[in-house]
């Protein structure tokens, strides 16, 4: 049965290849079918597809909406045109130089852009576009000023000079390649990390994913592709001027991406086809720009996922009906053990020690001189009323907040929790009070993002889907299935995480955290919203994890659950530790009952 399903999936993939290649083949016959008017339009679509595939990675995967990419196209176009007209270099070398320079300048602009975020991000990219446009107008010696550069040589191979037909075929090949690269990227760790960072920066960082690295990668790819398409455009049309690369062009590029569907591989193709053909089809002299604006607005308003995204959202649930139920296997102890990093087997030794931790938020003293020792291979629970500082303590340990004062020791080594991702790399994983799954990714992919740091692959290998990367990808799929088996997840693993029921979300989140192979796992109210059955499963899971040598710090309100699973309980109230001890001892301590019940009543009345 399983094999049958796998085979049908294989046939579907093969069918995809056939359809794709047939489409490219038909397009390749274009020059002999249509006149130069249509060929020129097809060529322009190709140019847009190349640029916008890069921008799709930036906008759709990374969530960075750049309104200045016409500037990067201009850099590629002008670098190559300048070098080719001035020094007579061949197209192939100047296009390469154009891509490199575009990459360099794109990198310069990526740094402030990624740091800024939000509306400032858009402003930097707009300002960048304007600066490039101005430089092109003013720097006569390089750009020829407002009159641009004329007489740019067409590319040549041997004695063959590329005319429009040749350029079109060339652009077709490049854009098909770019699309393939974008597809490969989406199916790699890099792509998943990009989407993870876009959707939830904090959760991604807690898995050890560095925001800057993945977003910079997106910026770099889009810069190179923009530079390349700029160079091709310039050499095909023999003339460029600053007017081609203004604010409107940048907006148009963004429009193509969102119209097609940000994050959808085929989105730029659909977007470019519509944006290039529509004005030609409509026989209107007036209000053409208003039409552009209207389309842009309508897409944002009615089709926020773009055309491809909306179609896919409609189709894929219907297709998934025929897809597989998932293989549920019982893991042998050896297999289960292989999922974890070499466990710290020194039970009874302290794994984490905190001394004198202080944390203030403005006037609020959230953590008052907290000292705590967590022993390896145990489940250590933090309990206390709402607002006692439990989550704050977890955030401080995991590096989300920096403490004002205090010392940390991890496995006997001093630890300075600088950032979530740095702490994650030290083998501390966490979940969050409210589910922070990556909704755009499937269940399986969510778990795979946790593996990103363990099985690192190069960006180039991911883009090209080299055999080695392919293998490691397959390994990651298997490991993730195993992890889902471990936590006992039985649902559809190729379903988007956004459609999961709440209890399942919490379990998948734990599986994702486990994927980073932590030695210390921080769980923030994992049982909240779970059914009794699920809580029982969770209890078994925690015992299994401890059996594999993990240490768990648990924040929980279900007291009987805490009592059953905990080895040690620490009680916090008003940011202070009231006491630490065995569950029986702590939960019957009169001070604890007083603090707990007293504040609980207050908290309960505040909620209503």
């Amino acid at each position: 049965m399983i094999q049958l399903i796998e085979r049908s999936a294989g046939y579907r993939a093969a069918a995809g290849w056939i359809v794709g290649l047939a489409a490219i083949g038909m397009l390749a016959a274009g020059p002999w079918m249509v006149d130069t008017y249509y060929l020129n339009l097809l060529f322009m679509i190709g140019i847009f597809v190349i640029t916008c595939t890069g921008m799709n990675i930036l906008i759709g995967y990374c969530g960075i909406v750049s309104i200045g990419h016409a500037g990067l196209m201009a850099i590629g176009a002008y670098m190559s045109s300048f070098l080719s007209t001035k020094y007579g270099l061949s197209f192939w070398s100047v296009a390469l130089i154009g891509m490199v320079v575009s990459l360099l300048i794109g990198s310069l602009i990526a740094i402030p852009t990624i740091r800024a975020g939000g509306v400032y991000l858009s402003m930097i990219t707009i300002a960048f576009g304007v600066v490039i446009h101005e430089v092109l107008i003013r720097w006569d010696a390089f750009s020829g000023g407002p009159l641009g550069i004329s007489g740019i040589a067409k590319p040549q191979i041997g004695s063959y000079t590329f005319d429009l037909k040749g350029m079109y075929i060339f652009v077709l090949v490049i854009s098909a390649t770019a699309l393939l690269l974008a597809r490969n990227l989406r199916r790699s760790s890099w792509g998943r990390s990009m989407i993870a960072t876009k959707e939830n920066e904090i959760a991604a960082a807690s898995l050890g994913i560095r925001k800057f690295a993945v977003q910079y990668a997106g910026f770099a790819i889009s810069s190179v592709l923009a530079g390349l398409s700029g160079a091709i455009y310039a050499h095909a049309n023999s003339f460029i001027s600053p007017d081609t690369y203004n604010f409107q062009t940048s907006v148009q590029l963004v429009l193509i991406v969102i119209l097609g569907g940000a994050g959808r591989v085929l989105g730029p193709v659909i977007g470019a086809v519509i944006i290039v053909f529509l004005p030609e089809l409509l026989d209107m002299e007036k209000l053409r720009m208003a039409l552009y604006g209207g389309i842009m607005f309508a897409v944002l308003f009615f089709l926020p996922k773009g055309i491809v995204g909306t179609l896919d959202g409609w189709l894929s649930p219907r297709l998934r009906r025929y897809a597989s139920a998932n293989p549920r296997q019982v893991l042998s102890p050896e297999e289960a053990k292989a999922l974890f990093a070499s466990p710290v087997r020194a039970s009874g030794q302290p794994i984490l020690m905190l001394e004198g931790i202080q944390k203030h938020f403005g006037g609020l003293h959230a953590l008052k001189d907290v000292s705590l020792t967590v022993e390896a291979g145990t489940i250590h629970s933090l309990v206390g009323p709402n607002g006692a500082g439990k989550t704050t303590l977890l955030n401080v340990i995991s590096g989300l907040y920096s403490s004002d004062q205090g010392h940390y020791t991890l496995r006997g080594q001093p630890l300075i929790p600088r950032s979530l991702s740095a702490v994650a790399e030290l083998g501390i994983a966490r979940t969050f009070q409210h589910s922070r799954l990556f909704k755009e990714l499937t269940v399986l992919e969510n778990v795979m993002t946790g593996l990103a740091k363990r099985a690192q692959s190069g960006l180039g290998a991911s883009l090209l889907r080299l055999p080695g990367q392919h293998r490691s990808e397959r390994l990651m799929v298997e490991t993730s299935h195993a992890l889902l088996d471990l936590i006992g997840y039985e649902g559809d693993r190729h379903m988007p995480a956004s459609q999961l029921p709440y209890g399942h979300q919490r379990m998948v989140e734990i599986a994702r955290a486990l994927a980073t192979a932590p030695s210390l796992l921080l769980l923030d109210e994992p049982a909240a919203g779970m059914t009794a059955l699920e809580i029982e499963q969770l209890e078994q899971l925690l015992r299994k994890l401890v059996g594999h040598g993990l240490t768990v710090i648990l924040i929980e309100h279900h007291m009987d659950f805490v009592q059953r699973v905990s080895d040690t309980v620490t009680v916090l109230d008003f940011g202070k530790i009231i006491g630490t001890g065995s569950p029986e001892q702590m939960l019957s301590d009169p001070r604890v009952i007083q603090a707990y019940l007293g504040s609980e009543e207050v908290a309960a009345s505040a909620e209503h």
Binding site: G63, V65, I67, I109, I111, P112, R115, A116, G117, G118, V119, Y120, L121, S122, M123, I124, I126, A127, F128, V130, V131, E134, V135, R138, I202, F247, V251, V254, I258, K286, L287, R288, M289, A290, Y292, G293, G294, M296, F297, L300, F301, P304, F361, T391, N395, L400, Y401, F432, Q433, H434, D524
Partner: protein, 293 residues
Amino acid sequence: MSLILQLAISGLSVGCLYALIALGYSLTFVVNGTLNMSQGQLVMLGGVLMFGFAELGHLPFFVSFMLAALIVGLLNLGIERLAIRKFDKGVNSIEWVLSTIAVGIIIQDVALYVNGPDEGVTPSPMGDEMLRIAGAGIYWKEFVFLPVVAVLLVLLILFYKKSHWGLWLRATADNRTAVEIMGISSNKIVAVAYVLSGLLAGIGGALMSTNYAVSVDIGLPLGLKAISVAILAGVNNPKGIVAAGLILGISEAFIGQYISTAFREMFVYGLVILVLYWKPMGLFNARKTIVKV
């Protein structure tokens, strides 16, 4: 000496314009963190309407002025409803950047369709006389920009500090839910902020048309320049914005004179990139964001 004075006062009137338009961005940004990217086109619309009413419709100057400002203000109400409310989904959502850019494109092209490409200057009640200060000259009709902007700034600050709406506006900026609990619809407050911002744009455009030629394509470059002013000053700092607008206007004149006329634009936008490089949240951004988990 008189040259320096001349450069300073020449830059002043342009600076006033930048300040006025940038104030419009500030009004909406403090309330819900959105900027209307079509603000420049609204200014254009104010100017074109002013010219249309006063010169072509032969309405009295102040009637035309009021009409232009009101129409643009009300239009902005519609923009808020259509292009902002649905797209403002939190700190990092910027769909509204794109939706308001789209609105700007539509406004500009429809204005072109209705009005044609003509450029026009509305005769100012101040006449065409020149004011001479120590050898430096400025037209009265330009000079009047300064008191108008000053009065508007004072009114705005009074509004913020003294009126109920001003209080609610500030409260919404701090905590939207708290305002909702008090029984005031935060949507309504955002709408008020947008109407005010539109009024400022309309006033800016109408004022502008008394000394500068307005045509349908002046909007976008003005809007982009003004947004740079707002960012350099810190978008939620009205006094800073006025100061930055004036400084920018004046420094453009000086850069033109002493460095090169060619590098003005590069200077402004280069500065925006540098400032955001150094302070990613804007120069004087007082708002702190606390990550909530």
